[in-house]
């Protein structure tokens, strides 16, 4: 009986020590995981910032407004030039309205007009189901 009891105590002790070690290691792993999560978060933030910077390079900022005057028109590719010329006449038009004037496909005009929006030459606004493109009226600034 004594022998059995003496054998059982060290085993329980061993288990308790083992358990304590496992808990310690779990804590350590948890700390490391937390560190990794924090590092990952920092990396994601840094990536997001860099993407925003690249985007702002691609798109003209709010302050930068292009005047789509006839001289600027000459620097545009022919496909885009035609779209702007129609908007001088129509003031505000959907891709379908522009296509009626240029006799090109609506999809072509939609692509051209959206490209001109990205370049900062045109603005667009949604009215119900229709998207209208127009030349942004600009304040008179003497150059």
């Amino acid at each position: 009986m004594f022998t059995m009891a003496s054998e059982e105590i060290p085993l329980a002790l061993k288990n308790a020590v083992l358990l304590a070690r496992i808990i310690d290691e779990l804590h350590e792993a948890n700390e490391k995981l937390e560190l990794l999560v924090n590092l990952n978060r920092k990396l994601l933030d840094a990536q997001k910032g860099s993407l925003q910077k690249t985007d702002s390079k691609r798109k003209p900022s709010q302050d930068f407004k292009l005047a789509p005057d006839v001289v600027a028109l000459l620097s545009l590719p022919m496909s885009l030039r035609k779209t702007v010329m129609v908007l001088y006449k129509l003031e505000k038009a959907t891709a379908k309205d522009i296509a009626n004037e240029t006799k090109r496909l609506r999809a072509v005009e939609s692509a051209s007009a959206n490209q001109l929006v990205r370049l900062g030459y045109l603005k667009k606004k949604r009215e119900g189901r229709d998207v209208y493109f127009y030349i942004q009226p600009q304040p008179e600034i003497k150059e």
């Binding site: 005057d69 600027a72 010329m85 001088y88 003497k142």
Partner: protein, 263 residues
């Protein structure tokens, strides 16, 4: 029928653009058409002088005022048909020849030019509503904002050139850099050609036109010889009215016929 808009342009000054614009407008109006003649040469307006006997200067509303949104499109026109006893109608819209007005146009910004081209399109729309058959614009020579605005808003342009090498080179460059780039219909008119083309038969002019068409890669609508008496005529004299049988006017009558067919 919608209004046919024709802009008269040149690469350099002194080609006879304004005289041609004035006489073409009178020729078309005297054929019974309703014509609007616009002076879009804001840097050196000359039509106010040409029509000074028919209008009271200063006019109530100049084209400059319309572009500056100070008056409506209808207000810029003066009907001179009665004064000249024309078969049709001739409405003229003049640019302000005062120095201040010319300076004001020179100081305009690019943003204003965007508004100006849009206003020009709205003016043409009004002219169309007024059932005008032909709208002729006299423009500034070379690559000026006002002339490019006029070209952009026209159905067809008539480039007037002399045989001067600089003028021809300028015309060639403009055709490539401007007209082809804007995909605009254009005809070239050679004015003040060598007087010998007047003495010789039309074949000589035909050969010259063929040669120039090859160089310029655009159609030549006509070759008008240089007439010394036309050069010496006062600006207030409108030859199409005072000397309708003059060979210069007869040449322009043919040009007018071709232009109305082309447009």
């Amino acid at each position: 029928m919608s209004t046919k808009t024709i802009s008269i342009h040149s690469s350099r000054g002194g080609t006879g653009k304004s005289v041609i614009a004035t006489n073409l407008a009178v020729i078309l109006a005297n054929r019974g058409s309703k014509v609007a003649l616009l002076d879009l040469d804001f840097r050196a307006p000359s039509l106010a002088m040409a029509f000074s006997e028919a209008i009271k200067i200063p006019v109530k509303c100049w084209l400059n005022d319309f572009l500056n949104s100070k008056c409506t499109a209808e207000q810029i026109f003066t009907d001179v048909s009665g004064k000249y006893n024309l078969k049709g109608k001739l409405l003229i819209g003049l640019a302000n020849p005062a120095m201040d007005a010319m300076r004001d146009v020179m100081e305009k910004s690019r943003s204003w030019e965007v508004t100006a081209v849009k206003k020009l399109f709205s003016l043409i729309s009004t002219i169309n509503d007024m059932h005008v058959d032909y709208c002729i614009s006299d423009t500034s020579p070379g690559m000026q904002y006002s002339s490019i605005n006029a070209i952009v808003s026209s159905d067809i342009s008539l480039i007037v050139t002399t045989l001067d090498s600089l003028d021809l080179k300028g015309t060639e460059d403009m055709l490539t850099e401007l007209y082809d780039a804007l995909d605009k219909k254009v005809e070239v008119l050679v004015n003040k050609s060598s007087p010998e083309t007047r003495i010789k038969s039309n074949k000589k002019n035909g050969k010259l036109a063929d040669k120039l068409e090859k160089i310029l890669k655009h159609p030549i609508i006509g070759v008008i010889p240089c007439y010394c008496d036309v050069l010496q005529t006062e600006r207030t004299t409108i030859l199409a009215l005072e000397k309708p049988n003059h060979p210069f006017i007869q040449d322009l009558v043919k040009i007018a016929e071709k232009l109305t067919v082309t447009t």
